[in-house]
Every structure is written in structure tokens, then in C-alpha cells.
Symmetry: none
Subunit: 241 residues, 2 copies
């Protein structure tokens, strides 16, 4: 069943299999999946390998173990790793989640209305782009980002599709954010945004407003992230070392 010769570890392959099976509904929500012993026998691997595989899904929130009883499908939406400053796409990949980010609107100039709430570029011009992230279940995250045109003007010609904004900035400008801030609130999706997220108008979404500060300009990057938390759950690790 599993490819022993593949460079992808067996436990990863198995985790993918199980994840797919859960999505297909082979293992319904709330039900028990086969025991570790049974899975080990079926896929011809050791029990530790099975545990390593289910561990991935437990951490992701898809499975839940009950000692003495079994391992169950939780039906929780998958959780995303740290919304750190590293970049949205990067934190997806790290979790092994297959998500796909697509550029809806390339980097271009835009005049920001003067009444645009928290937007640090309100009443001015800014660079703007829009990205959409999908899970297997459908669109999950709409990202609208504003950039300081004086600092990041050259990004206009940069490929952003499938790569992190932070990475692009780091490579082109050799600078990194010095800090930032995130605000979380419940908002209602407007017309264009609800369409992109396949939501009915007026449905609540999680709105994350993110300010990033750079050495040469506070709030040089501002993003609004509209998130369907039934598909993707933003997750933050709280520090200490």
C-alpha cells in the first residue's frame, strides 16, 4: 500500500492516507478509526510508525485519542500554525497542510479612501494585491495587502504567486520586519469578498488586521485577512523559549 522506496517518510504517507480517508468520509466524524494495531497490519508498518502518523493528525486537530477506547475523528477544522510575521503561505506549508494560494489581483497602485478605517494608507496611494488561499474544502482565506509605494515600489514586478511576501521583501530589500500588531474581530463579508470566499452576503468572518513595521517605515505593510474559520483556524503560539 505505501511506497517504501519513496523519499517521503512512511508516516507522512500514512498521515496523508488517513487525512484523505477522513475527508472522503470513510471514517465519519465522531467515529473510531481502526486501532493502531489494525492500521499497522493493514499498511504493513510498525505500530510506532502508525502512532507517528496519527500524531500528525492529532496535532492538527483532525483526530483525538482516548486511552483504552480508541482514536476518533473530531471533525474540527484544521488548525494553522503561527500567524507569525514569517508569512501566511509559509506557515501553511510547515504544517504539511496542502493549501493552495492564488493571486487574485497582482501588485498595482491604488488610492485608498480617506475613510478606510484602520488602514495606515487612508487618503493616500498604496501598492495593493489580493490573494486567496484554498483548502481541499474550498476557499478559506482572503488576503488584501497594502504596501508603502516608496519603500516597496519594485515589488510591482515581483512574482508573488505561491511565494511569501516576507520572502520577496527579504530577498529584494534585505530587510525584515522589526515588529507588528494584529487585531482580531468578527466582521461581515461584503459582496466581492463573500463571493471569493463562497459565503452568502452578511455571513460572519474573522477579520485580522495586521500591521508590520519595518526599519524604514512603521506600518509599511498592512493586511486585512478575511478568514473562514470553519475551514482554517488561525493559530498562534505564545512564546517563552
Amino acid at each position: 500500500m505505501l511506497n517504501q522506496a519513496s523519499p517521503m517518510p512512511l508516516y507522512q504517507q500514512l498521515a496523508d492516507r488517513l487525512s484523505a480517508a477522513i475527508r472522503r468520509g470513510d471514517y465519519p466524524v465522531g467515529e473510531r478509526i481502526p486501532s493502531e494495531h489494525a492500521l499497522a497490519a493493514r499498511y504493513r508498518v510498525g505500530r510506532p510508525t502508525v502512532r507517528q502518523a496519527t500524531e500528525v493528525l492529532v496535532r492538527r486537530g483532525a483526530l483525538s485519542r482516548r486511552r483504552g477506547s480508541g482514536t476518533f475523528v473530531t471533525g474540527h477544522p484544521r488548525e494553522l500554525a503561527a500567524f507569525s510575521m514569517a508569512g501566511t503561505a509559509a506557515s501553511f506549508r510547515d504544517q504539511g497542510l496542502s493549501v493552495d494560494t492564488q493571486l487574485l489581483e497582482g501588485v498595482g497602485a491604488r488610492s485608498v479612501p480617506a475613510d478606510a478605517g484602520d488602514n495606515p494608507f487612508r487618503g493616500e496611494k498604496a501598492l495593493f494585491f489580493r490573494r486567496l488561499t484554498r483548502t481541499e474544502d474550498g476557499p478559506a482565506l482572503l488576503e488584501e495587502t497594502y504596501l508603502d509605494p516608496e519603500l516597496f515600489g519594485e515589488l510591482r514586478q515581483v512574482e508573488l504567486d505561491g511565494r511569501s511576501l516576507s520572502a520577496a521583501i527579504r530577498e529584494h530589500y534585505r530587510t525584515e520586519p522589526t515588529g507588528g500588531q494584529q487585531l482580531f474581530q468578527v466582521a461581515t463579508a461584503s459582496g466581492a469578498r463573500s463571493t471569493a470566499l463562497e459565503l452568502s452576503a452578511g455571513a460572519p468572518v474573522l477579520l485580522i488586521r495586521r500591521h508590520l513595521h519595518f526599519p524604514h517605515g512603521d506600518s509599511a505593510v498592512y493586511s486585512e485577512l478575511y478568514c473562514r474559520t470553519d475551514r482554517i483556524v488561525p493559530c498562534q503560539d505564545l512564546g517563552d523559549a
Copy 2:
């Protein structure tokens, strides 16, 4: 070195040892810790047990593995993030309003249902209390917190009204959270909760699920924060410094 007879797993004990050693500075930031083989020999345990222990710290962000090279102590603790989880009131940006926190239900024992989603105490008993934070406009934040009864049993008699939980724990137990995680989700307020927040049933709220890890127990504190983001907006500073 480790207590084989203890009910606490060896890998947890070892993780605590390593964590303490890092905090003490025995293993300086950026430096390598002893190899897994060396640790296994020193503590008289198998290498998988060592890996299980370091795995805890890697996930917590305290350690970082480099294949072929070693396991290293990562960057210094992010004090800011640590403090943003210290007190609820402190971590919310003051929008020019005075806030007031009131204890709705004092610390008491409670059986957590087995199907209580992400709650680490599901199917067990936990200490529980409930607080409500108000702005001038009305209730804004409902906080339901579960505590490990074995670790924090004495908090039953402690004054929590108007003071931070973290402060109470720090003073009584001389321990601090080693890390944690926050998940942000849009949820709908149920009966009792919508009443407390003066919302109509089914109105969307921001649900923050917060796990706090302590040296002697992961997820020893778990909170669900139901937030009216029209009155108060949770805010987090993004580290670096």
C-alpha cells in the same frame, strides 16, 4: 536522575529538566545541547524517549533540530508575547474605554463532558471559573477558564476578582507558563453566553481558545474567551524584540 517510579512519564520529566536547564542558562541560547545519544546515556533512557522529550520543547519553540548537526537552543524568550497572555484585560487594546472585570462564578470543581471539543480536561474534572469584562457600552468579554485541579487546587481559596490569573499562579506556585497557543474562530453565542454578553441568540462572536502550558503539565490552563468585537478588540503584538 529521573524517577522511574513516578506517574509522570520519563519523557515529560526529561523535558522539564531540559527546559529548566535552558532557563538557568546551562544551555545558552544558540548553543547546541548534548546529542540525543549523550542525553540517553546520561539519563539512562532510550533514545526515542529523549526524542519524545525534545519533541515537546521543539514544538514549544525552545529547541530547534538541525539534521546532521545537532539540536540547538533557539532565540531568547519573547517576553511581550508571554505578557500578552498574562492578563486578559491587559492584552486587549484599550479603545478609550474603561474596562471592568467581574467574577461571575468563583473557582469550583466541575466535570467536563467527554465531548467538549478542544478542552484538554474533557471527560475529567477540572477547576472552573467564569469572568465577565465590561466596557462602558456593556459586556464585552466572557471568559471561561479550566484549571488542572491537581496542580492548581489551592486556587480555590484565592482572590481572583480584579486580579490576573497569571499573577495568582505566579505568587502561589512560583511557576510561570512555559508557552501556549491561541486559536481564533468565529462562533455563535449559545443561550447562557449570549445572555451574559447581551446578544441575541445565534449572534456571531469571536471565540479564542487559549491553552497555557506549565512546567508540570501541558495545557494545565485552558480558557475560552467569547468576545464582542464591536466593544473590545483583542490585539497582539508581534514579537521580534
